[in-house]
């Protein structure tokens, strides 16, 4: 039996106080096991971004419990949250968020800079992560702004892998990509999940994208409306020769 990597119990999040209080999450409870590939779906305003921020230790809930890899994250300070993010979470953003005018390799190794890892060791791990993210070796020394969007997102995926996180959190990872390159990115996630057993949480509003996951959690108005196994999982095509 696999361990629960994420345990959320009655997570509530409200902004503001008194009459202006806005409750965004109204009591979310779910858990995710190690090696699962879960999509969190919902329209905009449903609270899925807020949930993602809490799952990603960028924010803390107003009430409720959140255990990540056995650690209670819900009541940590800003500095402790930074430690959690550095050690346990790999982020993939819609807008890639790579450092411009900086080499691919350096971008990927960046999280390890904050872990005070020596440069040689850092680059070795970054190279392996780039391999795992199926990023061609010929472009390792390119600057991040010299490669295509699909390539950039794979750099971002490699970056999310370098700290060997308990959880990879992808926020609309295909949102800025055309469907063909989006397919490649989804394929990368699927192979990371199946071949390396990585736990992946994918936040999206597109049903097509969500259908690449094993399990889909629907959120609406701050509540979970459905949480079920994806009966007809799509398998992303692997296109090797994507234009750079």
């Amino acid at each position: 039996m696999k361990q629960d990597i994420i345990i959320c119990r009655d997570i509530k999040k409200a902004y503001g106080t008194g009459e202006t209080e806005v409750v965004v999450l109204k009591g979310i409870t779910f858990s995710i096991k190690e090696g699962e590939f879960v999509a969190i779906m919902g329209p905009s305003g449903s609270g899925k971004s807020t949930l993602m921020h809490i799952l990603g230790a960028l924010d803390t809930p107003t009430s409720g419990e959140y255990f990540l890899d056995g650690k209670d994250v819900a009541k940590l300070s800003d500095e402790e949250l930074a430690d959690i993010r550095r050690e346990k979470i790999g982020f993939v953003f819609q807008a890639f968020n790579l450092l411009p005018r900086t080499s691919v390799l350096r971008n990927v190794a960046l999280p390890l800079v904050y872990a005070n890892m020596p440069k040689a060791e850092r680059e070795k791990i970054a190279e392996k992560a780039l391999d795992d993210a199926a990023f061609p070796k010929a472009f390792w020394s390119y600057h991040s702004n010299q490669i295509s969007g699909g390539m950039m997102q794979r750099v971002a995926i490699a970056r999310s892998l370098v700290n060997n996180p308990a959880l990879i959190l992808a926020d609309e990872p295909t949102g800025n990509l055309d469907s063909r390159t989006g397919e490649v990115v989804l394929h990368t996630f699927q192979s990371l999940n199946m071949q390396q057993g990585k736990t992946i949480v994918l936040i999206t509003h597109e049903p097509y994208v969500a259908e690449h996951a094993d399990r889909i959690i629907h959120i609406r108005d701050g509540n979970i409306v459905s949480d079920e196994k994806n009966a007809h999982k799509r398998v992303a095509r692997n296109e090797k020769d994507i234009a750079i």
Binding site: G56, D59, D78, R85, R86, F91, N97, Y114, P118, R159
Partner: protein, 415 residues
């Protein structure tokens, strides 16, 4: 984040926008360079004024006739205008006051001097051989007034280089050599004197120009030129040491008051100028001057610092998403603060270094083209280094804290 990582990040961040970094740095360069150059001018002036005063003679006390202040009036009679000092006073100082190394008697006036078709109006000083020692003067060619010249009232003259040029230059553009003058006869106030020596050039000093002067034996001056009044216009005393100057000055005051029969020191009919006090007065004046220059330059440094802050604030805004990302992947507040502080310190430090070089060069060019003595002092360079680093920290701190305080969620969303 290790130091080498920090340096690498900082270097690449600063060099991304070279023009902007360069222009911002220019503010610091100008600030530091002007501090270095202007302080060099100030300190150079101070040093050259002190050297000028010291070239008058070492441990010098100048005694001049004339009341320091008349009782009941605020009008001070001109020093040297009264006839109160006599050679006997000078002899008494030499024999009765302790720690006196030498005493020179002087009686001078301005006269028309003629050599062939050339003439000049210059100071003629009757003095004694000890003048050379007391006033730190040397003879370039020939000899100075000797003891026998004084006792025999010989009509010999020792001339300064300016007088030499005025009287003996073959034409206006040619320069005269001492050999042209030695042995020649010049007329001072119609009396013939033989030139026996030429003094070395000392350059102008604050009080009298020793280059534009003719020295004759004191007795000859009194006999042929001054009308034998027997009074002196100045007595110069060299104290044995710097430390003895106050004692010598006090003793001379007491002695002369007693000799002149004056009981109230405020009624003294002579005044004593102490070289040490002149030096310290001049030093305080030039010190103020240097401080003023440094203060003006510091204003431009301040403006440069504000330029740094402005650029860093712009940078923080531009790189909001980058900051958000760094925070998302685990950078702490301290990491972000340090990174931005390092950027501003790198800018100011590099600017400071260039500024020191430029300031040094500027000081050199100033003395080359204007002839003002400049002196670049090492303590100021060290200070400039720390000041520029300090400016980086002070003006970089606010932008860095602002960057570190950004909320990662909002920073990541920032457009």
């Amino acid at each position: 984040m290790t130091t080498s990582d920090l340096f690498e990040e900082t270097y690449s961040a600063v060099t991304v926008n070279k023009v902007r970094s360069g222009l911002t740095m220019l503010g610091i360069v100008i600030g530091i360079a002007s501090v270095i150059a202007l302080v060099a001018v100030g300190q150079g002036s101070q040093a050259s004024i002190q050297a000028n005063i010291n070239s008058l003679g070492a441990n010098l006390l100048m005694i001049m006739p004339g009341a320091t202040k008349s009782f009941g009036t605020t009008v001070r009679s001109a020093a040297g205008g009264a006839e109160t000092l006599t050679p006997d006073d000078a002899d008494a100082i030499a024999s009765q006051v302790q720690n006196v190394a030498a005493v020179a008697q002087e009686a001078s006036g301005r006269y028309q001097v003629i050599y062939k078709a050339n003439n000049a109006n210059t100071s003629v000083m009757g003095t004694t051989p000890s003048y050379l020692q007391v006033r730190n003067l040397a003879v370039d060619t020939g000899s100075f007034v000797s003891d026998s010249d004084v006792s025999n009232a010989n009509r010999v003259a020792v001339i300064g280089p300016t007088v030499l040029q005025d009287l003996f230059a073959p034409s206006a553009n040619a320069s005269a050599t001492p050999d042209m003058a030695i042995g020649q006869t010049i007329q001072i106030k119609g009396v013939q004197f033989t030139v026996v020596g030429v003094t070395v050039a000392k350059g102008g000093s604050g009080f009298s120009n020793q280059d534009d002067m003719i020295y004759v034996p004191l007795s000859a001056a009194q006999h042929y030129l001054l009308g034998s009044t027997g009074y002196l216009t100045e007595v110069d005393v060299e104290a044995a040491s710097q430390g003895a100057m106050t004692q010598v000055q006090d003793d001379i005051t007491t002695l002369l008051l007693q000799r002149h029969g004056i009981s109230d020191p405020t009624q003294a009919d002579f005044s004593i100028l102490n070289q040490a006090s002149i030096v310290s007065t001049a030093s305080s004046v030039t010190g103020t001057f240097t401080t003023l220059l440094a203060a003006i330059a510091a204003i431009s440094l301040l403006v440069g610092g504000i330029g740094i802050m402005n650029m860093m604030l712009t940078t923080v805004t531009e790189r909001t998403r980058e900051i958000g990302l760094r925070k998302a992947i685990g950078a702490k507040k301290g990491d972000i603060t340090l990174q931005f502080l390092a950027e501003s310190v790198m800018l100011t430090f590099t600017g400071g270094f260039i500024g020191i070089v430029v300031g040094w060069l500027g000081a050199f060019l100033i003395s080359l083209f204007t002839g003002i003595t400049t002196s670049v002092s090492v303590p100021y360079i060290v200070l400039a280094f720390f000041v520029s680093a300090g400016i980086g920290i002070i003006f970089g701190y606010y932008p860095a804290r602002r960057a570190a305080g950004l909320n990662p969620i909002e920073a990541l969303r920032y457009e």
